[in-house]
């Protein structure tokens, strides 16, 4: 099966460069999601970077707006806007807001989001509209694992299975870490599989860095009828930069100019080729 590790490498590099230039932002989660995003934008999603408003496009809702750098890097790399614009991240007048904001006009942004616990409801509404209109496009929603501590997410989880929204696919970035530390110490989430299943979802657990497994999971989700699917993607926060991997202190920190060079070297050393 074709994989997209080269694209994931480029995306990670762009994430580090844009965050270093910004001087603040969320490095760990953004790096951890690079494989998921590479697979989504190069294989899974029906989309056209030259026609961001294309009516038949699949839609991706980034509920965890703080990992905007991975979305921006992926979109720029895919051709939605010039890669150079990534250098404006988080700066005054930029289309690349700290958390995605539609109003600022960046192509490919489906929802202004960043307050946790809201994206899945919106994605559900999008998917519901497509069901009403008998459209074949699908809606994807990227959630954080810590975000699942927000009660509103479970309202959406309940409603999506009640209405059999099978054109909706959620992805949980299961890196096990949040700002205060490991999720299981801050507020226990396990067993996530059992919890989502009990709420009526089709649950697929995968290694979030195994692109073949991810692609198979998304394909399985597409074939699932009458149930929404959640892909619990086990990821490593900071993936690709060994010295910061699995370190929750890198949730909300950006590399300095000096660290950037070191981190990019680490990326190169650990990179995987297709």
């Amino acid at each position: 099966m074709q994989t997209f590790y080269n694209q994931a490498f480029e995306i990670r590099k762009l994430i580090l460069e844009s965050l270093s230039e910004a001087g603040s932002g969320h490095t760990g989660g953004s790096l951890g999601l690079a494989d998921v995003f590479a697979v989504l934008y190069h294989k899974v999603l029906r989309h056209n970077p030259l026609k961001p408003e294309w009516n038949e496009r699949d839609r991706l809702v980034l509920s965890i707006g703080h990992v905007a750098p991975v979305l921006y890097a992926t979109l720029a790399h895919a051709g939605y806007f010039p890669v150079e614009e990534l250098k404006t991240l988080r700066k005054l007048g930029s289309r690349l807001q700290g958390h995605p904001g539609r109003d600022f006009g960046l192509p490919g942004i489906e929802l202004s989001a960043g307050s946790l616990g809201q994206g899945l409801s919106v994605a559900l509404g999008m998917a519901l509209a497509d069901k009403m209109d008998n459209r074949s496009r699908r809606t994807y929603c990227i959630l954080g694992d810590g975000e699942l501590q927000e009660g509103s997410v479970w309202e959406a989880i309940m409603a999506a299975s009640h209405h059999q929204i099978d054109n909706l696919c959620a992805v949980v970035d299961r890196n096990g870490l949040q700002i205060d530390g490991p999720t299981e110490l801050v507020m226990k989430l396990e067993s996530l599989t059992d919890r989502w299943k009990a709420f009526g979802w089709n649950v697929i657990s995968v290694d979030g860095h195994d692109q073949t497994a991810l692609i198979e999971a998304f394909e399985s989700a597409q074939k699932t009828r009458e149930k929404p699917t959640v892909i619990l993607a086990k990821t490593i926060m900071g993936k690709g930069v060994k010295s910061i991997e699995d370190d929750y202190r890198w949730h909300g920190k950006a590399p300095s100019k000096e660290q950037l060079a070191v981190f990019v070297e680490e990326l190169k050393n650990s990179r995987r080729y297709d």
Partner: protein
């Protein structure tokens, strides 16, 4: 000036619900969302007529606002009605980010507004909803004065506006007195009565009470102008400034806390443009309680008699 006559009492929630149905019969993009209290908030008219466009979401207001946002992003015009207390407070963050920041055309029905909710008591009486929503960019807040105006307002909100809209209405049957062919303009206050001595700016159910109060004041030789501020955001600054130039005394009347609602909005306009003496009538920094609607309106001096007493006391003080 028109002498207003009650055509027959009717709840404003019924006007809203019938308005949603009427709008939906002309526009098939309208989708209804329910949070268990469908009949209570007037959405059964729509749900019964268009079951394929109505979705039950259970007692989960935060999710309902998000779902509405998603539907709007797909070109639908969602109408979600629940009690004002739950919409404005439980789902406040969803309204702020998913609706207002994304500037999506969603109609929120804010039912059970004001103290006149009655026996359910403080938990269900929306008295801070305007304050909570008025500061949000892109939001429009409507507060029709009777069932007929609620019927027209929701249809105008659907067809004429683009962003999020909150329409506030009450539970109990109240005077239904405005004309079916009225030409109300969103954002433009309605002059209901002309008088030379003072000006009462009222909203929602208290417009009728203010009109009755004006008649009682007239018996005492005080002629009141009455303005219906059916749009609370954006507030009609011009009408307020015009009133301030003409009257030295202005009174606001609302079934809401005097902080953050109509009284505050008028005070802001006056202070910045043309200061005038202002009496704010409404709830004075306390929660409501159980009782019949008319008992509560009387106790908190928001009925016609209460308005007269407060106004006369103010004039004589």
């Amino acid at each position: 000036m028109t002498k207003w006559i009650n055509k027959g009492s009717k709840p404003t929630r019924t006007g809203f619900g019938e308005g949603v149905k009427a709008a939906a019969s002309k526009n098939d993009m309208i989708v209804g969302l329910g949070a268990d209290i469908t009949t209570s908030v007037g959405m059964h008219f729509f749900a019964d007529a268009f079951p394929e466009r109505f979705f039950s979401l259970g007692i989960a207001e935060q999710n309902a606002i998000g779902v509405a946002a998603g539907l709007a992003l797909s070109g639908k015009i969602p109408v979600f009605s629940t009690y004002g207390v739950f919409a404005a407070h439980r789902a406040a963050d969803q309204i702020r980010i998913s609706l207002c920041y994304n500037n999506l055309h969603v109609i929120i029905g804010g039912a059970h507004a004001g103290i006149s909710v009655g026996p359910d008591g403080a938990t269900h009486q929306a008295l801070e909803d305007i304050a909570s929503l008025r500061a949000l960019p892109n939001m429009t807040i409507l507060s029709p004065c009777d069932a007929t105006q609620a019927f027209i307002s929701v249809q105008k909100a659907v067809e004429e506006l683009k962003g999020p809209v909150y329409i506030r209405f009450g539970r109990e049957a109240v005077a239904d007195f405005t004309a079916e062919d009225q030409d109300i303009k969103i954002g433009k206050a309605q002059l209901m009565r002309k008088g030379d001595d003072l000006c009462i700016i009222a909203t929602g159910h208290l417009v009728w009470e203010a009109l009755q109060a004006a008649e009682k004041l007239a018996d005492k030789g005080i002629e009141a102008t009455v303005i219906n501020m059916h749009t609370l955001k954006p507030i009609d600054k011009d009408s307020i400034i015009e009133a301030a130039k003409k009257f030295s005394r202005i009174i606001t009347a609302e079934e809401h806390q005097i902080t953050g609602g109509l009284g505050s909005a008028v005070a802001e306009v006056l202070a910045e443009n043309h200061p005038a003496r202002l009496l704010r009538i409404g709830m004075k920094d306390r929660f409501g309680e159980s009782g019949k609607a008319e008992e509560l309106l009387a106790k908190y001096q928001m009925d016609a008699e209460g308005l007269v007493q407060q106004i006369v006391r103010w004039i004589n003080s």
